[in-house]
Symmetry: C2
Subunit: 206 residues, 2 copies
């Protein structure tokens, strides 16, 4: 890793925190330069425009999110074990104290029609990728016969996303101490409704 | 209604559309004056600061939302009828074509730690009021014996909010044609899980 890459990562870590607090609209090269005590021209060497900076921050957020989630999977069994690890990592990410107003990708999802083409497209791409990853984990839990084969994947993806968003609002906006418990109750209830009925006659038909 | 009040309402309708598209951060007196072809000083006669404008827009949004919801309740029976009317009005509000990027209150809920004190407090106040209203409708459906008496109100409020937020993302960001159907399926499933079991032995115990 070169010195330039380290500097870039340090800049992007700070930009991530600022994007969390100010939103993508509020993250400008000027604000970022000030908070890093860098000259604006020094910053221009790394990012040539606000748009380039925002795309870099979004990619950096995605990278940091994947790094954040990785340890949750250690020692977890394929299937429900990995699915639950993914969901726990997701809730912890939403509540991450180092992001002052939560994940900037989530924030941007609600201001995205205000954003220009490439940023909009990138947010859609990340959101679809996150949905595809969750779909894969659900299908894996069907393959391990922990979830039932007729689980309506798209419906469950819709509902899981809702639970995470409601957790964001109750935890971050309303500062409800019961928010995490409600999110976990909702997730457990959802998954239990689609648990494979191993002792039921339906299983015998397989 | 005075001419001044009409002008104010016309200004706020435009501000509401701009707040939807640009977020509260992006809504400035300058941008609003330009889009109305008013002088900035003319606008200052109505709102003395950006903060005053934003609070007025949020109040105006709340008023418009209540006006929007009213007709849904016409001829609806107390209980599940009114609850379903409220939920249909909510989903339609989220998808309202005249708000280019959706309800600015919802958008602001995700950028709210970036906002100053009074705006933050007002968003929390509106969010709690909306939760209290929904709680009241749920309790009314318990009183009419359509929902069961042991329904966990706070948990259901959490889950209903999640469904509306997921609908916003799938409809507005991902432009999923099935978004509305998924929201309605999730709501119907949630309410059916807490339907009063009129034929069950538990009811006989009352």
């Amino acid at each position: 890793v070169s010195k330039g890459e380290l500097t870039r990562a340090r800049i992007l870590d700070q930009a991530l925190v600022l994007a969390s607090r100010l939103g993508l609209e509020g993250l400008t090269l000027g604000v970022l330069a000030d908070s890093l005590e860098l000259s604006k021209s020094g910053l221009y060497a790394h990012f040539r425009s606000k748009e380039a900076l925002i795309l870099a921050v979004l990619e950096h957020t995605r990278t940091r999110h994947l790094e954040h989630a990785k340890p949750y999977f250690e020692g977890k069994a394929k299937g429900l074990g990995e699915l639950r690890a993914h969901l726990a990592a997701w809730l912890d990410w939403i509540a991450l104290p180092s992001l002052p107003a939560g994940c900037p990708i989530l924030g941007a999802s609600f201001e995205v029609e205000a954003l220009d083409g490439p940023t909009h497209d990138y947010i859609v791409k990340i959101t679809l990728a996150s949905r595809a990853r969750l779909a894969q984990l659900l299908k894996q839990a069907v393959a391990t016969r922990e979830l039932c084969a007729d689980i309506p994947i798209d419906q469950v993806l819709f509902e899981i996303r809702g639970i995470t968003l409601s957790f964001h609002i109750e935890h971050r906006l309303l500062r409800e101490s019961a928010a995490r418990e409600r999110a976990e109750t909702a997730l457990a209830s959802l998954l239990s409704r689609y648990a494979a009925k191993t002792d039921s006659p339906q299983t015998l038909k397989r």
